[in-house]
């Protein structure tokens, strides 16, 4: 579990931290859509802290655009000084418009191009299994996707394989702000369910509902939680 929350760095403080990142950010809607999910994960679910031990949970931000909420949460949790946020996007800043794992403490994968986080996570889930770290109490792997990101076919290669392989330590959160150009008739969950995943849907702005959805047990198969938020206007 993450470290205890200081009032100055709790959820109410996140928007102030995000406000420190100004400039060329083009994905403000995308950034705020993930805020509650990221906070609940880092506050209630993920067993990660700046000591970065081998047995930590893994969180992969696949939806790498709009990382302001991610950086704000990492700063709030002590992965790097909050003052770094003021240099967001600058040439010598580690904090870019898409996160780089080699530059930012606490970032597990470099992302930006869509459709990479989940396939990478499937490999990491297999790797943890190979290393004997896939039993009860062993690290979980979490991936955050967007509903439009699911347009990328690479996700569906990963969804199919992960379901058949029964990666119980694999968890996906899809932020659903109805931004997929052609939608997902019948709901996003159906694409996962048909491949054997456990599925759930929660209000993506409700901290308690997200917490409950993220902590349900699913030992023998991967699980997706669709976190529904308000529709975003196109940013591209």
């Amino acid at each position: 579990m993450t470290t205890a929350t200081d009032p100055a760095t709790g959820f109410p403080a996140l928007k102030a931290l995000m406000a420190r990142m100004i400039g060329d950010e083009k994905h403000t809607g995308a950034a705020t859509s993930t805020l509650e999910t990221l906070w609940v994960l880092y506050e209630k679910v993920l067993r990660v802290d700046p000591s970065w031990v081998e047995e930590r949970d893994r969180f992969f931000l696949s939806k790498g655009h709009g990382p302001m909420a991610y950086y704000a949460v990492l700063a709030a949790k002590g992965f790097f000084p909050a003052d770094e946020l003021d240099r967001f996007g600058r040439f010598r800043s580690p904090l870019g418009l898409h996160p780089d794992r080699l530059l930012v403490p606490g970032v597990e994968i470099s992302s930006g191009s869509l459709g990479h986080g989940l396939p990478l996570a499937v490999g990491t889930a297999l790797g943890l299994r190979i290393r004997g770290l896939s039993g009860p109490g062993d690290p979980s792997v979490w991936v955050l996707l967007g509903d439009a990101e699911l347009d990328e076919g690479s996700n569906h290669e990963a969804i199919a394989f992960a379901g058949r392989a029964g990666f119980g330590q694999l968890n996906v959160v899809v932020i659903d702000n109805a931004s997929a150009s052609h939608g997902w008739p019948g709901g996003i969950e159906k694409r996962f369910a048909v491949e054997g995943w456990a599925t759930a849907r929660a209000d993506g702005r409700d901290l308690a509902a997200l917490g409950a959805a993220f902590t349900e047990d699913h030992p023998d198969r991967p699980r997706v939680v669709v976190a529904e938020v308000e529709q975003q206007l196109p940013t591209h």
Binding site: E108, I109, S110, P119, V122, G123, L126, G127, R131, E157
Partner: protein
């Protein structure tokens, strides 16, 4: 399963998987059945993902992030060209390594047509930093390169072929090996075209260098070979896209007046099926074609 190199790859990989508990091999259906025996022993480390080549590369990246050494295998067009963004982002950009082992070369599977041919794979990978690109010309060379790659954390591309030179050259997996010395130029041949080049240059007063590792490029050996030449004419013979390594030659010989001819597979799509031998002739990579090109260049 055609190809001695691919069979050796399967046998040696199985042995390595038995020996190294953090080594895994991923396939995308092609060659998967040949791994049945070792998969039965190590089902979590010998995994066939199905015909999902993007996943193949991304999973290799994810395995490496978890501290497992991945080997990923398919035919060259499906291993390198189709999932190239995954190679760029899920291996290079994540800062992790993998061994990519291709089969089929440029046109080993000539009668399957363009979809199964990949003359541009080496040029494409060479646009990315940090790759060691191995192009063995013999099964024994491929085995040595595979064994070395399996126990590092580096980015290694091992380009297997169905064709082979009549003999292996010991030590060729590191730098260029001198096969013949002469004074009127240097011919650098890569991988399985060595026999053709030796036949093509028979009686010519040229140095012949042999490479099975083309990246990093062995600047030192080429420069040393060039230094003793009366005419600094360099002919590069590569079993993939012609000219792929010409810029490397220019870098190696910076400050020395020289001229370069890059021979290899032509850029134009050859809309023919048939055999590897017929494609060799069409691209001028048979011994007679190489002789004409090399001799003409030396006379220019």
């Amino acid at each position: 399963m055609p190809g001695l190199m691919r069979k050796r790859f399967v046998d040696v990989t199985a042995e390595l998987i038995d020996a190294h508990p953090r080594l895994a091999v991923l396939t995308a259906d092609l060659t998967a059945k040949a791994f049945d025996g070792v998969r039965a022993r190590h089902p979590d480390r010998v995994v066939n993902v199905g015909i999902r080549e993007q996943l193949l590369i991304s999973m290799a990246g994810g395995l490496a992030l978890a501290g497992v050494r991945p080997i990923a295998h398919s035919f060259a067009p499906f291993l390198v060209e189709r999932p190239f963004e995954q190679i760029k982002l899920d291996l290079n950009h994540q800062g992790v390594g993998a061994v990519l082992v291709s089969a089929g070369g440029s046109y080993d599977i000539a009668n399957s047509g363009r979809s199964h041919q990949s003359p541009g794979d080496v040029a494409l990978l060479a646009t990315l930093p940090d790759w060691t690109i191995q192009v063995p010309g013999h099964t024994d060379e491929a085995e040595a390169q595979l064994r070395a790659a399996a126990v590092t954390d580096d980015l290694v591309y091992l380009r297997l072929s169905n064709r082979s030179n009549t003999r292996a050259y010991v030590g060729a997996e590191e730098g260029f090996t001198t096969l013949r010395t002469g004074k009127r130029g240097v011919v650098l041949v890569v991988g399985p075209l060595a026999d053709n080049v030796l036949a093509a240059t028979d009686g010519l007063d040229v140095t012949v260098l042999y490479a099975t590792r083309i990246r990093p490029f062995d600047n030192r050996t080429l420069r040393a070979a060039a230094s003793g030449q009366d005419d600094l004419a360099i002919v590069l013979v590569e079993p993939y896209l012609a000219g792929t390594s010409v810029a490397e030659v220019t870098t190696a010989l910076r400050g020395l007046r020289h001229r370069v001819l890059g021979l290899g597979v032509g850029r134009e799509e050859l809309r023919h099926y048939g055999s590897t031998r017929q494609h060799d002739i069409a691209h001028g990579l048979d011994a007679a074609g190489l002789r004409r090109s090399i001799a003409n260049f030396l006379e220019e």
